[in-house]
């Protein structure tokens, strides 16, 4: 009760603080030479109030204060403490409050970190960021207040969906949001810089760090979600092209493209229109992500029950922001025409530009696949879904030139590059194709596409390895990230080609045999845990000469009353053995799925390598200064 009130009133005062900030900013923008210190002070007060409000909600969760509606809907007294805390952002209201915390945190950090930049630019960025912040305040207080009061006070809460009670998913939203909301700073800053015609080399160097920070968090956030889906959902995959996954992939694609644009802008001072459009796109897509996931519009297998009316507010707000940014872009932006004529066909920036076009293509494919079903539902009220074949068919062929450009691009020079001393590029390409030919030769898959695809992935793989040895620490950040990407594509391809699975229904004591595996269901044990009852099955799996013992689990949660299955995964360096057990209502049979998935570990490692590249880039520059 007390904590809720503290939280609620801090939220209101936080909104009120926005007005002095705007007032001081406008006054400061016109008059003085240096930044008014009051702006920083008030930004800090606002941050403090929002954090206080967030802590108010966290403590309401910790002390299971069921007079708070959000706590009542999402918590339960028997839930472990860790999940009481993570339950704070496991729901719509709490996660939006977390958005607001990150929004105010980032603008405060921005003010501290941008001391040597133009004053007008800093003030204007604060103003644009305040528009977003006010929007979220109003949205939170008006339509999704996390501190609603219920009377009479219930004795027990409804509990958190057990599928969310998981360590990876507990930290997944904050990490993802740091990435999403990080793009808000890029958005505000790009609008400010466009208005002042400040898009320049200095600006690029400064904004690059913000792009890197949100890119790293977004990458890690997607990775966490993917790992969670892999072991918790029990489907044995890591990416399902589900709308909810797609909405996190789209800002990532835009942000990755932006990162490369900023590099060109930093070195060559062109592609500025690209950088502006992409910054706007990244933030818009992040907002869309929150909107689509939380509004219930998306028809997703991941969708949790939610409220469509809130969608309207975010949609209107989004519309205003897009309109504002396009207006600023067309009125204020002066394109860098004088520079663009010096684009040569064979140069680093051309290959970056080409791959940017490819990434935009991938982005549009994902966007169409995600939005088209919604569109069709509204227009023709036909219910459809777009499955993985759509994405595979449209993306995979274009990965081939994409990978090749990714391999060759970094070998070229800025401005203009010749073909001399590039013999190794051809030799490595032939070697890669040969290796891939021998791998694919004996397999029962589409020969031509797979050979070239695996060949191009190997090509990137070898070229980055060669660079490690020849160039050492020069450009190591780019090299590691590109190496990680080649490893990712290779692992995904091999994972797809060499996976095998067996699905059967078994009773305790029975066994099942096919030409490769034999599964024996040894026994089933029951355990009582704090907030669930656990049934552990014991299975022996024989393949050739080896025998493994795996113990998948079924959990029957008390509140809410839901059954979840916990996969048992035996991870080794090269392959994962994955088993899940599901109950079938009123039957003695259990539905068993056993999968052998090669290179799973490498998929996670390669994504970590990709984000490590970003991390090195972020710190290397500071070190070199």
């Amino acid at each position: 009760m007390l904590y809720s009130s503290i939280g609620y009133y801090s939220l209101i005062f936080g909104l009120i603080i926005s007005f002095p900030i705007i007032l001081f900013s406008i006054r400061n923008f016109r008059n003085e030479e240096v930044l008014d210190y009051k702006i920083i002070t008030f930004s800090f007060i606002q941050l403090f109030l929002v954090v206080l409000s967030f802590l108010g909600l966290v403590f309401s969760f910790i002390y299971s204060d069921f007079s708070n509606e959000t706590v009542f809907n999402n918590s339960h007294t028997t839930k472990p403490l860790f999940y009481k805390i993570s339950g704070t952002w496991g729901n719509h209201e709490g996660s939006l409050l977390l958005w607001l915390v990150v929004l105010t945190l980032f603008i405060f950090l921005f003010l501290i970190k941008s001391k040597d930049l133009l004053k007008k630019y800093r003030v204007l960025t604060v103003l644009f960021q305040q528009i977003i912040i006010i929007g979220f305040f109003v949205f939170l207080i008006k339509s999704s207040n996390p501190f609603n009061y219920i009377f009479p006070v219930p004795n027990e809460g409804l509990g958190l969906n057990p599928i969310l009670q998981d360590p990876a998913l507990a930290i997944h939203p904050p990490v993802l949001y740091l990435g999403y909301v990080g793009s808000s700073i890029i958005f505000s800053s790009v609008l400010a810089a466009t208005t002042l015609n400040y898009i320049s080399k200095i600006w690029a160097i400064h904004i690059k760090n913000w792009v890197l920070v949100s890119w790293i968090f977004l990458t890690l956030g997607i990775l966490l979600g993917s790992i969670w889906a892999y072991y918790e959902l029990g489907w044995g995959g890591f990416w399902f092209w589900d709308p909810v996954e797609n909405v996190s992939l789209m800002p990532w694609l835009a942000l990755t493209t932006l990162l490369h644009c900023i590099l060109v802008l930093e070195k060559r001072s062109n592609l500025s229109s690209w950088a502006i459009i992409l910054s706007i796109a990244t933030f818009t897509l992040s907002m869309c992500g929150t909107f689509l996931v939380r509004s219930g519009i998306l028809n997703s297998v991941h969708t949790f029950a939610n409220d469509p009316e809130r969608g309207l507010f975010i949609l209107t707000f989004l519309f205003v922001l897009i309109f504002l940014s396009l207006f600023i872009f067309f009125i204020f932006h002066k394109s860098d025409d004088q520079n663009s004529s010096s684009f040569f066909l064979l140069s680093k920036e051309t290959s970056i530009l080409v791959n940017n076009w490819f990434m935009m293509y991938f982005l549009s494919v994902v966007l169409i696949g995600t939005v088209y079903p919604i569109f069709l539902d509204v227009i023709a009220s036909q219910k459809i879904s777009v499955g993985p074949p759509f994405y595979h068919k449209l993306i995979i062929p274009f990965l081939i030139p994409f990978l090749i450009f990714m391999a060759i691009g970094p070998q070229l020079k800025w401005i203009k590059s010749g073909l001399e001393e590039k013999l190794h590029l051809v030799i490595l390409f032939i070697i890669s194709l040969l290796i891939s030919f021998f791998i694919v030769k004996n397999l029962d898959i589409d020969f031509l596409v797979n050979t070239i695809l695996i060949g191009s992935a190997f090509y990137l793989f070898f070229i980055t390895i060669r660079d490690f040895f020849l160039k050492g620490f020069k450009n190591i950040q780019q090299n590691i990230a590109h190496f990680g990407f080649s490893l990712l594509i290779l692992s995904i391809l091999f994972n797809n080609i060499f996976s095998s699975e067996l699905i059967t229904n078994l009773k305790v004591g029975e066994s099942f045999k096919n030409d490769r595996f034999e599964i024996i269901f040894n026994d089933l044990k029951k355990f009582e845990e704090k907030n669930y009852t656990s049934f552990k099955g014991n299975f022996s799996i024989r393949e050739n000469e080896t025998e493994d013992e795996l113990e998948p689990e079924l959990r029957v949660y008390n509140q809410p009353n839901i059954i979840t299955s916990e996969a048992d995964i035996k991870t080794t360096f090269f392959t994962d053995k994955f088993i899940t057990m599901n109950s079938v209502q009123n039957e003695e049979y259990f539905n068993i799925r056993y999968q052998v998935k090669p290179f799973m570990l490498w998929i996670w490692i390669s994504v970590l390598l990709i984000s490590l590249g970003g991390l090195i880039s972020l710190f290397k520059k500071k070190y070199e200064k």
């Binding site: 969708t303 088209y372 459809i384 229904n505 599901n582 079938v584 209502q585 039957e587 539905n591 799925r593």
Partner: protein, 139 residues
């Protein structure tokens, strides 16, 4: 007649336009082939012909209709107006049970028999797929 710069620009614009047209064509063609339509048992009764194309069928699992063997599960999906027999071998989600909503993906053999290749999992016992809700409300 025209300067080199104009020619180059013209060349680039043509290239971009061509690739745009190509990609739009590819996307639309792929959409047409890979879209999965959602149907209720009543919609299926209204079909003129049964095509060999992937569809989703949604509704309620009829009470006392689940039959399981070591190879497959058989059950009936109903929208309380019409029903359809489903046979399925594959992963069964935990929230799949009698009297609850279900969405199955697969191929129609005829108007009363459906061979499912996937049963979609849901995360929340109170959650009803929007299509099923709409299909049930229509009756």
């Amino acid at each position: 007649m025209y300067g080199r710069k104009v020619k180059l620009r013209f060349f680039f614009i043509t290239l971009i336009l061509l690739s745009l047209i190509l990609s739009v064509y590819l996307v639309l063609k792929s959409l047409e082939e890979n879209v999965v339509y959602f149907k209720s048992p009543s919609d299926i009764q209204l079909l003129n012909e049964v095509k060999n194309k992937k569809v989703r069928v949604g509704g309620m699992v009829k009470i006392n209709s689940i039959k399981i063997s070591s190879k497959e599960v058989n059950f009936i999906i109903t929208d309380f107006k019409n029903e359809i027999n489903v046979s399925y071998s594959g992963l069964i989600p935990n929230l799949f049970s009698e009297g609850k909503g279900v969405v199955a993906e697969g191929y129609l053999k005829d108007k009363s028999f459906f061979e499912a290749t996937k049963i979609l999992a849901k995360h929340d016992e109170n959650y009803m797929p929007p299509e099923v809700k709409a299909a049930l409300e229509e009756k």
